[in-house]
């Protein structure tokens, strides 16, 4: 599903150049649940952004669902993101101006669907995360766990093949964290590929396997 070969990525600021990822080779199979662990600053988010086509590698090759990612235009990259990837962020990143259901509809806006179809799909996704009763609330009116469940609904509403979750439980207490992880496992059982960054070994245990990073490099 996701294939990385010799992928490197560095960030240049005025003075220093940080090698965020150094020759990463990684294969994520379809239907797999992979955890990524490592200390802060080791490149986990960078890796996830590359997999989700939000960023491009400096070196190496990357392919998603068999499609090599090279010099596609912004439009076709956006399209691929829209169809194939669902993101869950550590700090939710819900749009505060929009209601819960409008937030969940965001990925559907960039497809050709009628507003009724969008509303139905969004309602269904919210049903899956158990938030049918909060459809027209604003994000600020929800608890942290509920907000992250909205984010999960938003990530799955477009039925992407890959879910990329960047510390989805990092800002939640353990009980709410477990709920989110239950959801991810359920989605994985339904055939979705899940890649999750986490600091928490307890969470990582629930994945099929764990990839460890240290200073931009893969360690065993």
């Amino acid at each position: 599903m996701i294939h990385l070969e010799n992928v490197s990525k560095s960030y240049r600021t005025e003075r220093i150049e940080t090698l965020a990822l150094d020759s990463i080779n990684l294969e994520v199979e379809t239907g797999e649940f992979v955890a990524i662990m490592g200390p802060s600053g080791c490149g986990k988010t960078t890796l996830l952004n590359l997999m989700g086509l939000l960023d491009t590698p400096d070196q190496g090759t990357l392919s998603l669902d068999g499609e090599a990612i090279g010099k596609q235009s912004d439009r076709s990259l956006s399209r691929l993101r829209n169809r194939k990837v669902g993101f869950i962020f550590q700090n939710f990143h819900l749009v505060g101006d929009l209601s819960v259901v409008d937030n969940v509809e965001i990925p559907l806006l960039y497809r050709t669907l009628s507003s009724r179809e969008r509303r139905e799909l969004a309602a269904e996704a919210l049903g899956r995360v158990g938030l049918s009763s909060r459809i027209s609330h604003l994000p600020a009116q929800l608890s942290g766990g509920q907000q992250q469940r909205v984010a999960v609904a938003r990530a799955i509403v477009g039925r992407p093949q890959v879910l990329l979750a960047d510390e989805p439980t990092g800002n939640l207490d353990s009980q709410m964290g477990d709920e989110i992880l239950d959801l991810l496992e359920e989605l994985n059982r339904d055939g979705g590929t899940v890649v999750m960054v986490t600091h928490d070994p307890r969470m990582a245990e629930r994945a099929h396997r764990t990839v460890r990073l240290f200073d931009g490099r893969q360690v065993q």
């Binding site: 439009r75 993101r81 829209n82 700090n91 101006d97 209601s99 990925p107």
Partner: protein, 412 residues
């Protein structure tokens, strides 16, 4: 697709009340000023009754004379018009009239200042006054020098009230009695050709001295068959004036037939009769409108740019879920257009109110400003131009934000 973005825009605007308020305030205020100004300009320059034929009317408004010692401009004397403005090729009807200026009328010992014009009979057929009572004067009145006067509604009401009959009554103007033959609707002061309180035949002047004057208080209007006749009318008139022997002590006499717009531009840019300034005035007005429009546009651009940071997370999220830069630009531009259209609507309603207040205040004599459809459409056009102008640059900046960076920010 558009509907989707419009709905989205309305939601965002409803949530961002402060931003929306500030923006709407700026836009509607600017549009208000713009609409009031255009209503004013429209009122001055566009054909309105009684100048219904303004589109094919040329006016002879002034004369400039030059000598070795200097030059001067002023109103024309009858002599020049009589010699040069009659029977011009392409002209259907010609009218001469003079601006006597303010005279005093007395009613029950109380003084009333009124504007007096002396006209011929053609004046009443070229201009289409709204006749409320009686009649205007005709060629017979004029030729026989009958002391008749047409008054406007306000003068009638001030002198006689609304009820009693006025036709056949006489009033004393400048020590002579004139019989009132008609009452016409008031005309705003900005229409210098038609404006007055009292109109008498200029043939009733005490003596014929005016007929020998180069410079005086006369103007003329020429009703052409169509605008296409303007060039040859002008050329012929100018040639005739140039061929006239100049008055004693002067070398050159120049006059020209102008549209009212050209006349106004001459007033603004200088008084020489030989060059037209209409292009410059049009250009200046356009520039002023543009600069004026730039203010709220820049303000809105500024507001929008300052919101980029605030919306960074949203931009990152949308990018992550498949929005292309194009999608984002469209979204933000539509947000701005919706905002400015709303502002336009509010500005429009405000200008209806304000123009109504100006009309009723009597601040400008006999003003009758209306927000007509043309002005409204102009206003709306401005609003959209606004929206696009103030939306594109911030939108482009927003869309170009790196999603990776914008997603780094704090949570909602």
């Amino acid at each position: 697709m558009i509907r989707k973005y419009v709905q989205l825009a309305l939601k965002v605007l409803a949530r961002r009340k402060f931003f929306t308020f500030i923006s709407l305030f700026g836009i509607s205020l600017t549009l208000l000023v713009l609409m009031v100004t255009t209503a004013l300009l429209d009122h001055v320059f566009a054909p309105h009754p009684p100048e219904v034929h303004a589109g094919r009317t040329l006016g002879i408004y002034g004369v400039s004379v030059q000598s070795e010692t200097g030059s001067g401009t002023g109103f024309l004397g009858y002599k020049v018009l009589d010699a040069c403005a009659r029977d011009l090729p392409g002209v259907e009807e010609t009218s001469f009239f003079r601006l006597h200026g303010y005279v005093s009328l007395y009613r029950n010992g109380e003084k009333l200042r009124s504007f007096l014009k002396g006209t011929d009979a053609s004046y009443w057929s070229i201009l289409d006054f709204d006749l409320l009572e009686g009649r205007t004067f005709d060629a017979t009145d004029f030729d026989q020098r009958r002391p008749v006067v047409v008054i406007n509604r306000t003068t009638r009401e001030k002198l006689f009230g609304r009820q009693s009959a006025v036709l056949g009554q006489s009033i004393e103007i400048d020590g002579r009695r004139f019989e009132i033959v008609g009452v016409v609707e008031d005309v705003p002061i900005v229409r210098i050709v038609a404006y007055s309180d009292l109109w008498v035949p200029y043939s009733t002047a005490r003596n014929d001295d005016y007929q020998q004057q180069y410079r005086g208080d006369f103007m003329a209007i020429l009703l052409a068959g169509s605008r296409a006749d303007f060039p040859r009318i002008r050329a012929e008139f100018e040639a005739r004036v140039a061929a006239m022997p100049p008055p004693d002590g002067f070398d050159v006499v120049r006059s020209g037939a102008d549209t009212f717009f050209e006349f106004m531009s001459r007033q603004i840019f200088g008084d020489r009769m030989e060059t037209s300034h209409a292009g410059r005035l049009r250009w200046l007005l356009t520039l002023l409108a543009f600069l004026f429009l730039l203010l709220p546009t820049l303000n809105l651009v500024n507001l929008n740019l300052s919101r980029i940071l605030e919306r960074a997370s949203e931009i990152g999220v949308r990018r992550a879920f498949g929005a292309s830069c194009g999608h984002l630009v469209v979204q933000f531009v539509i947000e701005n257009v919706v905002l400015t259209l709303l502002g336009g609507l509010i500005g429009f309603l405000l200008s209806v109110l304000v123009l109504g207040v100006i009309n009723r205040s009597g601040f400008i004599p006999y003003a009758d400003f209306g927000v007509n459809l043309r002005v409204f459409l102009w206003g709306m056009l401005f609003a959209v131009v606004f929206g696009v102008l103030s939306g594109v640059f911030p939108a482009w900046r927003m869309a170009r934000l790196d999603p990776v960076v914008s997603l780094k920010g704090s949570s909602t």
